[in-house]
Amino acid sequence: MISRNDWRLRLGVLAVAGVLVVGACGGGATQAPASQPAASQPAASQPAASQPAASQPAASQPAASEPAASEPAASAEVTPAPVACDAAPATGLTQIGGKVSILAVWTGSEQDSFMCMLKPFMDATGIQVDYQGDRNEAALLQTAIQGGSPPDVAGLPGPGVMADFASQGALKPLDDVIDVAAYKADSPPGFVDIGAADGKQIGIFIKASVKGLIWFDPNVYKGGIPTNWDDLQTKATAALADVPGAKTWCVGLESGAASGWPGTDWIEDFVLRQSGPEVYNGWPKGTTKWSSPEIKAAWEAYGQVVSPDAVYGGPTTVVATAFQDGGNPLFTTPPGCLFHHQASFITDFFVKQGGAKPGDYDFFPFPDIKPEFSGVEGGGDLFGMFNDTPQSRALMQYLITPQAQEIWVKRGGAISGSKSVSMDAYPDDISKRSADILANAKNFVFDASDLMSNAVNTKFWSSILEFTKDQTKLDSILTELDSIQSSGG
């Protein structure tokens, strides 16, 4: 039998136990936020690696590597927001009414620009836009499609994912929605084809970006724009005579868990210009082997760039330098190098970390190697249609018009694939000239590493590091990349 005293004792013990449990839980709860930054930081610095689809942002856009990228809070749902924008009323649109839902990756000022782009459309058609912007859009979209309720229209993480969605039947072909022939005529060759899968037009570009720009300090390098790759070498040798101790190139490959990616842009630029778009486009698909002479030649050309007598500090410095700091020796006294190869976002780091003032830096496009394979490598934001409604059809038709494209261009931060967008619309010199490069490109190819599977891409990054440190390993590196690619990555 249990006496009363016993019961009291037991309840007392239970009470203590309860308090301990609460204490433990409470402790856990308060600790969690403290440990979160640590846990989320590495993940955030490497969204590329953890999100197969969105492999581009982390690598090429420093903004995406900020912790904000992984915060679910970066989500915003808006009904037509009153954005201050001076877009001219749209012409040639008929009143339809109804609603269209859009899911895309843009938030903040990018979202404002996109909403501004939509304003004339909404005014003219009476269609209400239900926009949701989220940095983690790729995962949201995947879930929405699996749940059977995708948005009417959405941004697509990349051409590879686009093709997947198209083969599942989730994305609707646009061949009878937009005038594909006219769209192609208005864009650089190869540009529109990136939005095609299985012979059907699936995606359209809202905006584009140009990669493979070569940056220099006009106070140091005064040789002018090289006509081709050999001319660049000649001009560099001439310029180096006046800058004792400097080397031709500056390269920085370190990028946390994604270290090595700046080198992939190098290889891609060489493949395109040495061997042409056909070899280039077959490469992420696996029809061009890594060990093929064409790809090997590109690696060897890159090897010359990072050889001890051509690159600032030698290969060790290349692998140990953060990509943000890569171009800084352009601006030191005396200068450490003449050229730095990077997409246009790097100017932000020139100013903030390299101590450069606007006017200290300028660029020219990656020079041709073979004239017949002149082209440009870039990226862009694809849009696709998931629900075939009159409203989403009207929206897709509207989005590729030069009038619509020009709105974002004017607000800055976007380059349009449309040749009809006036060059005067670009607010600054760099974007104007990038647009010029895109408009006059004989070939447009999409960043190949972004089209590769995550396993191949990650191995590509680490192979760049390995090769930069020890160029004798090239054959075994390429064989290994082949075996990863053929095993389905």
Binding site: V21, A49, S50, S259, V319, A320, G336
Partner: protein
């Protein structure tokens, strides 16, 4: 804010009341059981919630990982030992295995050896508490934080350029050439191990120091009276008495070394031949989408730690038996 308060109330009221309710319930149920077997049934009923949680969060995942390790990428078809074969034939994974062994040997050796040295040397100095706190402090820093700090320490700039890394600044000010600590194999693996040892030496020191204090002074004094030198006292009395503690600390370090992930992930992500098994496991699962291979690595890691755990448990039982 409101949801936080509700959450708090749930934790404060709901969780304890469920526990109390459960106990009252089983005590009532127990009354229906014959008094004789009550004593036998009661502990199991009291333990049941803990056992259920243990099963859901520990045993079930282990079994599932084991099953997954024999399955293909889609986790649908069984493919026999292919995932294990991959681990033992692929160049990258073999490098990770070799490095994990280096971690195991050197982290254990440096942390336990350093901790022992510190515990003994600081035992009789006047600033013992202060000196020990200094060594213990890094333990409070997260691995990711330590990785970032040491990355700055190891920073490399080409010869001639101003060195912003502490180590290279020191090396160059003494007239040497800067060294790429994290990029040159095989040195870089040892540099990473040093970061881990920097954190864990304090832990080893505190445990060993506590064991040292528990050795009775009579024993040591008797030896000294008999004319033993300090070294002899250490070798013949202190060390043998510390041995069980050293074994426990070493096992902990060995398991820590096998689990090593954060430091490698933050500082090199396995580049330049610094890969370790745990980081490889992470890559297989989250970068390459290979749950089968990742599970195989997890099982291999588990099998590696089992002997040390068994050793630890045996030792513990022996000690219990001696009492």
């Amino acid at each position: 804010m409101d949801s936080k308060i509700i959450q708090f109330l749930i934790v404060l009221v709901f969780v304890p009341s469920v526990i109390v309710g459960y106990i009252l319930l089983i005590e009532r149920v127990l009354k229906l059981v014959p008094t004789k077997s009550q004593a036998r049934v009661r502990p199991w009923l009291w333990l049941a919630p803990a056992l259920i949680f243990l099963f859901i969060f520990l045993i079930y995942p282990t079994i599932n990982t084991f099953v997954l390790s024999f399955q293909d990428r889609a986790s649908k078809n069984f493919i026999g030992l292919d995932n294990y074969a991959f681990f033992f034939t692929n160049g990258d994974t073999l490098t990770s295995l070799r490095n994990s062994l280096l971690w195991l040997v050197f982290l254990t050796f440096i942390a336990v050896g350093g901790g022992l040295l510190a515990a003994i040397l600081f035992d009789r100095v006047r600033y013992e508490a202060f000196a020990k706190s200094l060594i213990f402090m890094p333990l409070a820093i997260s691995f990711v934080g330590a990785g970032v700090i040491w990355k700055f320490m190891f920073e490399y700039r080409p010869p001639g350029a101003p060195q912003i890394g502490t180590l290279n600044a020191a090396v160059t000010s003494l007239g040497g050439e800067p060294i790429a600590w994290l990029q040159n194999a095989p040195m870089n693996t040892f540099m990473l191990i040093i970061v881990a040892a920097w954190i864990w030496t304090g832990f080893a020191m505190v445990i060993l120091s506590a064991a040292l204090k528990s050795i009775s002074t009579e024993l040591l004094e008797a030896a000294r009276v008999d004319g033993a030198t300090e070294l002899q006292v250490f070798r013949n009395i202190t060390f043998p008495l510390l041995l069980p503690t050293i074994a426990v600390v070493s096992t902990t370090m060995i398991i820590t070394a096998l689990k090593a992930f954060d430091i490698v992930y933050v500082m090199t992500n396995g580049a330049f031949d610094t890969e370790v098994v745990a980081n490889r496991m992470y890559k297989e699962l989250f970068n390459f989408g290979q749950p089968g291979r990742a599970s195989a690595i997890a099982i291999i890691l588990l099998l590696c730690t089992v002997p040390f755990m068994i050793y630890n448990i045996r030792r513990f039982r022996d000690q219990e038996a001696m009492r």
